[in-house]
């Protein structure tokens, strides 16, 4: 990544530019892989892009950045993803 010398409002790409946005969560998406039918609706609709698809078609959620919006649970037809209160997980 080439950095420019000039002092003006130039920003450089960074994952987690606003920090670990997983800390924003009140609800956490809990994934039951046994129920997952690999439809990838959650992957395509995740606003944050924290759902990654694996080679076998299953998905994983990056909880460091997941904001807990619940869109994935909402679009999952088989309820493989369920939103749970963050505290309950502890």
């Amino acid at each position: 990544m080439k950095k420019y010398d000039v002092v003006t409002s130039i920003s450089y790409p960074k994952k987690g530019a606003m920090g670990k946005t997983g800390s924003w969560r009140v609800f956490k998406p809990k994934l039951d892989k046994s129920k997952c039918v690999k439809c990838l609706q959650c992957w395509v609709f995740c606003p944050e892009g924290v759902i990654t698809k694996n080679k076998d078609g299953t998905i994983d959620i990056d909880y460091e950045y997941c904001k807990g919006c619940g869109v994935c649970a909402n679009v999952c037809k088989v309820k493989a993803i369920v939103m749970e209160r963050e505290a309950e997980d502890k």
Binding site: M1, V7, T8, S9, S11
Partner: protein, 385 residues
């Protein structure tokens, strides 16, 4: 070297085209129109090989220039009066972005009512935008200054947009003979544009997102430092031009008969040119008076003002007024001299609304000061002169 006899606008168009900008985006407004029409003619002949965008407003003209410059292109545009005012927001954007857009502004009166003659309120109102500002008083100077501005604005120690101002009709539509160097000589004079930053798919930066206070202040300081660098570079570039092409219009100021002057007259643009005639006549009458024609308004030549103040009292003519205060050149000259000089400074407002200012008017102004009859600040023609 050939001689071209044409109006200020067509000369500016020729200079712009010879500088080979990649993108020109402009919107017509009287009396800038013939400048952009001049470039359009060069598009038709093929002499201008860049992109020529006929935008739908001046705000869009500057926005398009910003987009092009940010993508690494040399850019040029022109406007006047209300067009300049309409692009005000984007003037700030260009300089904060450190994009060296080069622009001719034809100084025209601001309405209402509609008035197409010359005064400087339009460009003076942009003095806080961070743009470098030149004021020209001959077609030759327009040509030379436009070319020099590309070299200056694009210089890595500057990286700021430059505005070249000249009077509506008095210069924009008046023909004068101008020496035009060969294209190769211009190519050699202006280095290839190397942007300080650019939008590049191989280096994906985000420009202009939210920036916190402390960081922003640093951006402003860097702009100030760049204009300070310009103060050194403007005389260097002017000298280089003089050595190569034999013509010189001064650098930050143009001094005329100042050597033993007890009074120095300061004015800009057409009044500056007219002042030379007045100085000659006043000298013939025995007055020890000279002219310091202010060419560069931004960066403000404070150090030069102090030098002038050391030798003479100053008489300033402004073709602009900051309502509720004074003329800009008068005001800023006094600020530059504060604590550094005992020189007496008199300010005059003349030529607003395009009212003609002849060498006789200028002589009257100077004589009034010399005879001790002038107030500190006067509107010429309003004091029963």
């Amino acid at each position: 070297m050939k001689v071209m006899i044409d109006t200020g606008n067509y000369i500016a168009a020729k200079a712009a085209v010879m500088a080979k900008p990649d993108v020109v985006a402009a919107y017509p407004i009287t009396p800038q129109t013939t400048l952009v029409e001049g470039i359009a003619k060069y598009v038709a002949t093929g002499e201008f090989k860049g992109e020529y965008i006929c935008v739908e407003s001046e705000h869009s003209a500057m926005s398009a220039c910003i987009g092009a410059s940010a993508t690494g292109s040399r850019t040029f545009t022109a406007t006047s009066s209300h067009g300049l005012l309409l692009m005000h927001e984007m003037l700030h954007w260009a300089s904060l972005a450190r994009l060296p857009v080069i622009m001719c502004n034809i100084n025209r009166v601001i309405g209402p009512g509609w008035n197409i003659w010359s005064d400087q309120n339009d460009s003076i109102a942009q003095r806080d935008t961070g743009w470098i500002q030149f004021y020209c008083s001959s077609c030759q100077e327009i040509f030379d200054t436009v070319i020099q501005s590309f070299k200056l604005g694009e210089h890595k120690k500057v990286g700021l947009p430059v505005m070249i101002n000249y009077d509506a009709f008095i210069l924009s539509h008046t023909s004068m003979p101008v020496y035009i160097p060969e294209q190769k000589e211009i190519d050699d004079f202006i280095p290839t544009f190397k942007p300080l930053w650019k939008l590049d798919v191989d280096n994906p930066i985000t420009f202009g997102n939210i920036i916190g206070p402390a960081y922003y202040e640093k951006v402003r300081k860097a702009m100030q430092d760049a204009q300070e660098n310009a103060k050194t570079l403007i005389p260097e570039i002017a000298k280089e031009w003089k050595n190569k092409f034999g013509r010189y219009h001064g650098d930050l100021l143009e001094r005329y008969k100042c050597e033993d002057a007890e009074y120095i007259l300061m004015s800009m643009s057409a009044i500056g040119a007219e002042s030379k005639v007045a100085i000659d006549n006043l000298r013939a009458d025995g007055l020890k008076i000279g002219l310091a024609r202010v060419r560069t308004f931004r960066p403000f030549p404070s150090e030069e003002m102090i030098k002038l103040g050391k030798q003479s009292d100053l008489i300033v003519i402004d073709r602009n007024i900051s309502i509720g205060s004074e003329g800009a050149l008068f005001n800023e000259t006094k600020a530059a001299l504060y604590n550094k000089s005992d020189a007496k400074v008199h300010g005059f407002i003349a030529g607003l609304g395009g009212k003609d200012v002849t060498y006789q008017d200028i002589e009257k102004i100077c004589k009034k000061v010399v005879n001790g009859k002038a107030k500190d600040f006067e509107w010429y023609g309003f004091e029963g002169d």
